[in-house]
Symmetry: C2
Subunit: 307 residues, 2 copies
């Protein structure tokens, strides 16, 4: 195999009570990449469609992740990468992670899988470091592993994959505003009350239990962010109304995707997800705010080879 | 059935990363109670063996819990209660909870089970309120339900029972010192850093995942308290050495039981639990500190009828 085409899924990180530790993988939203073996060593980004991103390997998250990986494996080839972006940068559904994770996944396939998907997370994190200054795994882990991922620890890196209940769907609405990660970061407080923290970890425990027991009601009851959402949601136009609308239309829960501005709602079954999408859209239509909307089952497989 | 004898298990609450939300039930440590139907209405504590506790119904946790329950069910009988205490008050393994939960469990059996075990938690919590001023469920929930219990929320009360991995054992050492709950409370800080809180909920998520997947290593890696243990452990003589000794002798993890002074260690298999017990005992022997020690499988059944 000398050329590979892959699907690089979008992801939701910072899932409510799982701020900074819990993410999920999407099925119908994502980029594509074509990666080709070359006799010329090194990594070259030869084409980017759909986004204005640097072609220089060291300035591109896919390039940086690929280089981090190739430093750790003996290999006689070079690689050419074409990136077809569908996930908008700054949307809060893991645009940079799709590229970082895609590059290492694709090259790993072309090399006959010297690394497991979990091992690839560490290399993909180097792309995230370039993108945000912080080598986080919140999006690259679910993109690579699929389903839900819990980043239990960074030192050492310990990632737990949790299978998604089969009927769990996400609706994601992306208001077309710019929300800088630095602004989303700056509203956070360095300290939280012990009381709120206990509520948060009680809910996270409930959410994880809900996933393992496929208890959609428990998933819904637990999907609550006591700490970050109250601070960040004020930066997102119409957040409260969008969330309330989602809940009124059958969502199990709703919250901020990543560091925003996208808002997600989880639901049981595609029919409810579609009803929620319609209702959310009406809110932004009434506000004359442009948006994109995605409906997707939670993708338990993660990144995959198309051809 | 007019008379019932029951086993009222000891419990470990505040399980490391699960401070205030996670507890487990023990199998070999616990009290016994005999409860008898009577034609005279009301609840009478007629005998207490093994502890100096009030016989007056309204001043006894078992009495208060029983009364709270009987207010919520039509019933023509009264009840006499005998309490045989083995769990020392103030040990940190749920002494008052065993009595509160035992009373409501036993009466519920005699009445033909008008309530589920989960429903009984709410009544047993009234006993805890008398004991500590706070109607918490940390100990009564695992005593009634068995296994591990997660108190996801108090308002409304939402308790999740999680089955224990079958080979999970606890070793508990109880140094014979008095540690007042008020002192254990007063060392807590009202605020915690967001960073520590994230570490804590990452670990709690990992611990819950470890329980569902019976992954003993993950249980061990996750059994870590970033927030409360560093503050409280200084109140317990030899804590660091006991914990270190447990870990060196094969414990998956170790921490403070309840609000102390008991220290627990979890392990896979009874043989390791016994080795840990021996090693912990040596530490306190060397310190000339009197102690009690318990070895118990995690009790997945919870409270039970003996006769």
């Amino acid at each position: 195999m000398n050329t590979i085409k892959i699907f690089c899924p979008a992801t939701i990180a910072n899932l409510s009570c799982g701020f900074d530790v819990l993410g999920l993988c999407l099925e119908t939203a994502g980029d594509e990449m074509i990666i080709r073996k070359s006799d010329v060593k090194g990594v070259r980004i030869i084409k980017i469609v759909g986004a204005d991103l640097p072609l220089e390997t060291e300035k591109n998250v896919a390039g940086v992740a690929a280089l981090a990986m190739l430093e750790n494996v003996t290999n006689e080839f070079g690689f050419e990468i074409e990136i077809y972006k569908n996930i908008k940068a700054g949307s809060g559904i893991g645009s940079s992670a799709a590229s970082s994770a895609g590059a290492v996944f694709g090259i790993n396939e072309l090399l006959g899988r010297p690394f497991t998907r979990k091992e690839l997370v560490l290399f993909a994190m180097q792309g995230e470091k370039l993108a945000s200054g912080n080598a986080h795994a919140d999006n690259v882990a679910p993109a690579l592993l699929g389903g839900f991922t819990l980043v239990r620890s960074y030192d050492p890196l310990d990632i737990i994959k949790i299978k998604s209940p089969s009927e769990l769907y996400a609706t994601i609405i992306h208001p077309q505003i710019e929300l800088k990660t630095s602004d989303a970061r700056s509203v956070l407080k360095q300290n939280v009350s012990l009381k709120s923290a206990i509520v948060q970890w009680g809910n996270l425990g409930g959410f994880i239990a809900g996933l393992y027991t496929q208890d959609y009601d428990l998933i819904g009851r637990s999907l609550h962010d006591e700490i970050v959402e109250p601070l960040r949601s004020v930066l997102i136009p119409g957040f409260d109304l969008i969330k309330q609308t989602a809940l009124e239309n059958g969502a199990l829960g709703s919250g901020i995707s990543g560091s925003g501005p996208s808002i997600f709602a989880l639901s049981k079954g595609v029919a409810t997800a579609e009803i929620i999408a319609k209702a959310m859209s009406e809110v932004y239509n009434n506000m004359n705010l442009p948006y994109e909307i995605h409906i997707s089952r939670v993708n338990d497989e993660g990144m995959k080879v198309i051809i």
